[in-house]
Homo-oligomer: 410 residues x 2
């Protein structure tokens, strides 16, 4: 079987799986996700053995790749959390009656078949499967080659859970090869079988998706997040929020990468912020360096998502300059302002066109769990269909159901 | 100036227009749409003169192209109707407080810059402009060459209305040339200036969009709508609904193109339906032809959107065969069932995955105005972002505004 034949067969099976999943009851979907969690626990030895092989062969990002009993238990608990979320398939978004008596309902429905292309975190395999099943969507998983053995082992447990709940194993399939051709074929849509591609990965994947995709995509692109300290900021809050936004975890997409600080506040505040950023490399513009000794920021620093303990710092004249910097260099993910001046804060919140804008809070809160969504498959940085944290609700579409009594249009 | 330079300049101006439109008040947007309507009336002589030139040069679809004082007054009234719709920019879709005190709002925002590519109906120029302004989006209009003079004249009135309301004329721009290269450049996104493309046109445009688009699209594809008469249908209702669904207006996308009828009901009902379809050419399968004399349907009839007084007819064994036919040949637009059996109707409404599914009503109700949306730019047949009638609300995205008091993530 050629790779084309294999992928088209996967696509056709996914379409059938999507029909079964959509037509199943919400209770069946819940039972399936719980069974997936149980099978994940039962399969821990096999999964950890497969993961050890992946880790042994890995060249980079080993920490993101490695599983241990705790992380696996965390993945199982995360599935149970998704099982506990409400099942939204067939629920009304709105319903109204027209003067002619037509009863119109806007009803949530699954999208259909989702293609998930991701890189080195094997736990995405379980998360994505659960979120797709919760929302009634079949999914085709394409794991990065580094994590392929782990992902296949996790997928085996998930498929067993589906079957135990009476659903076809094909509701969640994994591409069993590391061939990069599989990605290209998925981006072409597998002959109409794929409704939506969700890419999660670095710049090379993002670039490939934007060049090759022939089906809609829900991109999780870079998170080059900014925190802007306004002249009116409470000094203690500014120091604490910036330190948390940068250093709590530097490898997540909601970590702040660039600090913008008002010229009026910088002399008093920047030394205190720098002192709180223990272990963080600072790269500043000339004005920052005149206040705190640090490395000089290059032009490229303003557009670099470090995902590491490095912070670029720029002194700005005012909120207008801060917003212009964000518009130029931001990636539309998350930006925060620290300010006591409410008018300044509201201006920032209204004008900055990112998926998430925050006032007096750490950008590290940019997360579906922290938003109360229960689970997320990523943070969408595009503006169409969904934006911000993508949970089961965001992986649904809707249709209109119109009930009449024989109405004819005049 | 080359066409590339011209289009990139249009894109850059649209981006500035989008900022101005988003930051304006709802009252300003309303005033602008009312001023557009007034200028449209004032400019009637110039618009009708331009339209006469278009009509003189036209080779096809002359009726869709032709404007007269009544149609132009209808377009002005339609703008006033859009001006009367609520302004949704900045309104909450949802708002909640997290246990840590973070106040999270999901707030409606404009998408940004919309590229509208359409064919021979010049009134789309006014409708699209008004719906985009209502939703806070700038728009780049690319009219078909047949209607270009009319569209430019209408656009001139619209730009004057924007300026009168204090908004930049660049909020609504028209591509001033019939060059097909302009379409290609828009589909490439004009260097990041276009957020969404809305194509409205025939098969050739649809095909080009799916091949070339590098930005998200909200497609208004074919409307190959089905009406299915179930064995339990009330005979009088079936005859009346089918006749209306096919014949009220045959050129709209919600017109029924294929009738499916249960074997059990066909002998009694098909002759009555055929008699009611006066002036309509019937093309049936063998079973239909055994009941009513008519032309034989070819395989291609099942996938043809006639937009004309022609109906293809097929006798089916049961609801399963009807739904399988729709899945195979439908375009995901609108399908209706006529039935007294509620269980059969609910099965059809739940299983058929089209933007609009109807029970005991004419498919001709597939229309934003009939749904109570006030205005529509088309019927989206894709599943992402919006589905069904696209009015101002569907041309918006959202962002999350998070208000805190210095929260740091643990």
């Amino acid at each position: 079987m050629t790779i084309v034949e294999m992928m088209e067969s996967i696509g056709a099976k996914a379409r059938k799986g999507a029909d079964a999943l959509r037509d199943a009851s919400g209770e069946t979907r819940t039972r399936a996700i719980r069974a997936m969690a149980a099978k994940l626990r039962e399969s821990a030895p096999a999964i950890l053995a497969a993961n050890a092989e992946d880790v042994a062969g890995a060249t980079a990002l080993v920490d993101r790749l490695r599983l241990d009993p705790q992380r696996l238990e965390g993945a199982a608990q995360s599935l149970e959390q998704v099982a506990g979320l409400p099942d939204l398939v067939g629920t009304d978004l709105a319903r109204w009656t027209r003067p002619n008596g037509l009863d119109i309902a806007r009803v949530r429905t699954p999208i259909g078949v989702i293609g998930m292309i991701y890189e080195s975190r094997p736990n995405v395999t379980a998360d994505a499967a659960a979120i797709c099943v919760r929302s009634g969507n079949a999914v085709i998983l394409r794991s990065g080659s580094d994590a392929l053995r782990s992902s296949i082992a996790i997928h085996e447990a998930i498929a067993a859970g589906l079957v135990e709940a009476g659903l076809p194993a094909d509701c969640v399939q994994i591409v069993p090869t590391a061939s990069r051709d599989a990605v290209g074929l998925m981006l072409q849509g597998l002959d109409g079988a794929v409704d939506l591609i969700i890419p999660r990965g670095g710049a090379a994947l993002v670039e490939r998706v934007s060049r090759e995709a022939r089906v809609p995509t829900l991109g999780h692109l870079e998170g080059l997040c900014h925190t802007y300290v306004h002249g009116s900021a409470d000094p203690g809050m500014a120091v604490a929020v910036v330190a948390n936004a940068k250093m709590r975890r530097t490898s997540i997409c909601g970590a702040t990468e660039t600090l913008l600080i008002d010229r009026a506040a910088a002399p008093a505040l920047l030394p205190a912020i720098a002192a709180a950023l223990d272990g963080c490399e600072l790269r500043g513009d000339a004005e920052s360096r005149a206040l705190v000794p640090m490395k000089a920021a290059a032009e490229s620093d303003w557009s670099t998502e470090y995902l590491a303990p490095i912070l670029s710092i720029r002194v700005v004249a005012d909120i207008g300059e801060a917003m212009a910097h964000i518009e130029l260099y931001g990636t539309g993910h998350t930006e925060a302002i620290v300010a006591e001046d409410e008018a300044a804060a509201e201006l920032f919140l209204n004008r900055v066109d990112s998926a998430i804008v925050m006032w007096n809070a750490s950008t590290q809160f940019a997360d579906g769990g922290e938003f109360g969504f229960g689970a997320e498959i990523g943070i969408a940085t595009g503006k169409l269909h969904a934006r911000g944290p993508v949970g089961p609700e965001q992986l649904m579409t809707f249709k209109y159901i119109v009930r009449g009594t024989g109405q004819q249009r005049p």
